[in-house]
């Protein structure tokens, strides 16, 4: 698949953000994922050509970072936190139940291409444990049942909205574009803060 002139212009606009062009390699990889869903060889070649690098140099960077996927993932990529705190609080039980429910395990995708699964590391939301991320949006305070409903909804095309995020869940490719630094205009949706983030502020207002 050749990139359109419009897409190549976005390559250039991403490169123009930086004082030195090699710095654009990471957003360009996110941009490639927003088009193809994963890092394709065409994407590697296009980035290498734009940055005057070898494809080996680009591949070396791509394979270092876990968010760059070597093959297709689901339209809804579900990450279940199984780092210690979330695991103990229920993440392990959720992971076990969901693999059974979907019939897939870590780094696999359902046959309809809708949902893929990943055991993820700490996602900086420990006060909302157990945490699940879908397309890197927060789903806080999850239970086995809520995640079953989440993945069933995703497979049926109507996933519930993130807890602290936009009013509706965007696809993997759409969110990859945001990670490439392109805006989707959804910043003002969702709350300023979740309940746990306000714990200290509320205690202080109670005079504590």
């Amino acid at each position: 698949m050749a990139y359109s002139s419009e897409q190549l212009a976005i390559f250039d606009s991403i490169i123009a953000r930086y004082p030195r062009k090699r710095s654009a390699i990471m957003p360009l990889l996110h941009f490639v994922q927003s088009i193809s869903g994963y890092v394709t060889s065409e994407g590697i070649e296009a980035i290498a050509a734009k940055l005057e690098l070898s494809t080996a140099e680009v591949t070396a960077v791509s394979t270092f970072y876990t968010q760059y996927k070597p093959g297709p993932v689901g339209e809804y990529h579900v990450g279940i936190c199984t780092n210690t705190l979330c695991a103990v609080m229920g993440g392990d039980a959720i992971y076990e139940a969901i693999t059974e429910h979907l019939g897939i395990s870590n780094d696999e995708t359902t046959s309809d291409g809708k949902v893929s699964l990943e055991r993820i590391e700490c996602n900086a939301a420990c006060d909302y444990a157990p945490v699940v991320m879908v397309n890197w949006e927060f789903y806080d305070n999850q239970t086995i049942q809520s995640v079953k409903d989440l993945v069933d909804g995703a497979r049926a095309g109507n996933p519930p909205a993130p807890t602290r995020g936009p009013n509706s869940l965007r696809t993997w490719k759409e969110n990859s574009a945001v990670l490439a630094g392109l805006t989707d205009g959804l910043a003002s949706e969702g709350p300023s803060a979740g309940a746990a983030s306000l714990l200290g502020l509320n205690l202080s207002k109670e005079g504590k």
């Binding site: 420990c126 006060d127 983030s197 714990l199």
Partner: protein, 434 residues
């Protein structure tokens, strides 16, 4: 009088706290204008005198770091903000950026002006799309309002601010790995010296600061050092975000003066979850040695935690009650360090792999008590033998858990496996199995 001190979090309960209008309503960007009217060296001196220390883990004095940037060297200088928050348990910078991104941007204007940088970067982790959106929007709005770009606030200062989005690598929270990553390479730590202040981004003088450190600067400029120093302890001045998580009645963010204790935080917030008792906790993320109930009264400041044998770190207070198996907890952290080792240094790359093998065997009840000493020996041969502190972080939970809970490791061996029911530690346990 309240024991708490919401400053950065003071307006997070307002529906538009993340917008420029919401930020300006409470005096936002006044501090930047005030700083731009001062001489850059005066700004550095003020922040130095404030006693502000890094909130990202190491606790290095922020103003001193700024003063290390050579001036009059005819080189570009860079400010890089570390928003790669990934240390297990750490969850303060993401809610801060979601609810109040302008405090960081304002702090970056002040810091960049002080160190004479005209280009600044935020390196944010990639697994938080909505936080990315909020920061993107805040930057765009600041440009629109003339608070970024050329001739900021009509004061003749120019600053370009670029948001750089990571892609899932814990190691990029280490400042030199972060710089390599930002330059477009695999994120692997550099040998120091030279330190970033001399040869950082693109081999130019660079300050790398944590989000919370920089976001704390506008309040210091606005309200002054007397106010800032009225909070905290002798060598740990000011307010900070404590992140309470785990087996507590009410987890969440609590902004308080440095030096508050876990006992006080628990008393204020509702304590350990009903019917349970505190078993072990981390004062500042998984890389800081574990504490137990005997440490409830340790002042949570840089010196207090350090004197008690751990580190203040990121103030990520992960609380575990008596239902939690410490061996299982430590094994999972060990697997994390193995997964996130960048592979550059042999002791870390190979060592964390072997630590996982040994921890798995111990958790499964295989082996002998002598294996515990071997585990400690291997851990001691990994810590301090690599370019960065990741391996030291891997060592902390192992060494400290054996120190406090050796009998629990041995119980796995006599029991032939884990004696705990993992379901008892979940949040669903009280409600019956979901």
């Amino acid at each position: 009088m309240s024991k708490l001190a919401p400053v950065l979090s003071a307006h997070w309960d307002e529906a538009d706290s993340f917008t420029l209008a919401g930020y300006k309503r409470h005096g936002g960007y006044n501090a930047a204008m005030k700083a731009l009217a001062m001489a850059p060296d005066e700004v550095i001196a003020l922040v130095k005198d404030s006693g502000l220390r890094g909130r990202g883990g190491a606790g290095f004095p922020t103003g001193t770091k700024w003063s290390f940037i050579p001036q009059g060297d005819n080189k570009e200088h860079y400010l890089v903000v570390n928003a790669d928050e990934s240390e297990p348990g750490t969850c303060k910078d993401m809610p801060l950026l979601m609810a109040n991104p302008h405090s960081l941007i304002e702090g970056m204007i002040i810091a960049s002006y002080a160190i004479r940088a005209s280009y600044a970067f935020i390196y944010i982790r990639g697994e938080v799309v909505h936080v990315v959106r909020r920061v993107q929007q805040a930057i765009a709005d600041a440009y629109q309002a003339g608070l970024l770009g050329t001739n900021i606030g009509g004061k003749g200062f120019d600053l370009e601010l670029v948001l750089h989005i990571g892609a899932g690598a814990y190691i990029c929270g280490e400042e030199t790995a972060l710089l390599d990553s930002l330059e477009g390479f695999r994120g692997q730590p550099r040998l120091r010296p030279p330190f970033p202040a001399i040869a950082g981004l693109y081999a130019r003088p660079t300050v790398v600061n944590n989000v919370e450190s920089i976001a704390s600067v506008p309040a210091i400029i606005e309200y002054g050092n007397e106010w800032f120093q009225s909070m905290g302890t002798e060598k740990s001045k000011g307010f900070t975000l404590y992140s309470l998580s785990g087996h507590v009645t009410n987890p969440g963010q609590i902004e308080a003066p440095l030096g508050i204790t876990l006992r006080e935080l628990l008393e204020l917030s509702g304590g350990i979850r009903a019917g349970h008792t505190l078993k072990f906790w981390t004062p500042g993320g998984s890389s800081t040695p574990l504490f137990t109930a005997e440490h409830l009264d340790v002042p949570l400041d840089y010196e207090g935690v350090s004197a008690a044998g751990s580190m203040l770190g990121t103030k990520a207070l992960q609380i575990f009650d008596e239902t939690t198996c410490v061996v299982r907890a430590v094994l999972r952290w060990t697997e994390f360090y193995k997964h996130e080792s960048c592979g550059k240094c042999t002791p870390c790359r190979e060592g964390t792999w072997w630590l996982v093998q040994m921890m798995r065997d111990l958790e499964a009840g295989k082996g002998t008590p002598a294996d515990l000493d071997k585990l400690i020996d291997i851990t001691n041969n990994i810590a301090g033998r690599s370019f960065c502190a990741l391996a030291d972080g891997a060592a902390s939970p192992i060494i400290s858990s054996i120190k406090y809970f050796r009998a629990e490791y041995e119980a796995h061996l006599t029991h032939g496996g884990c004696p705990f029911d993992p379901i008892a530690s979940t949040l669903f346990a009280t409600a019956g199995r979901a």
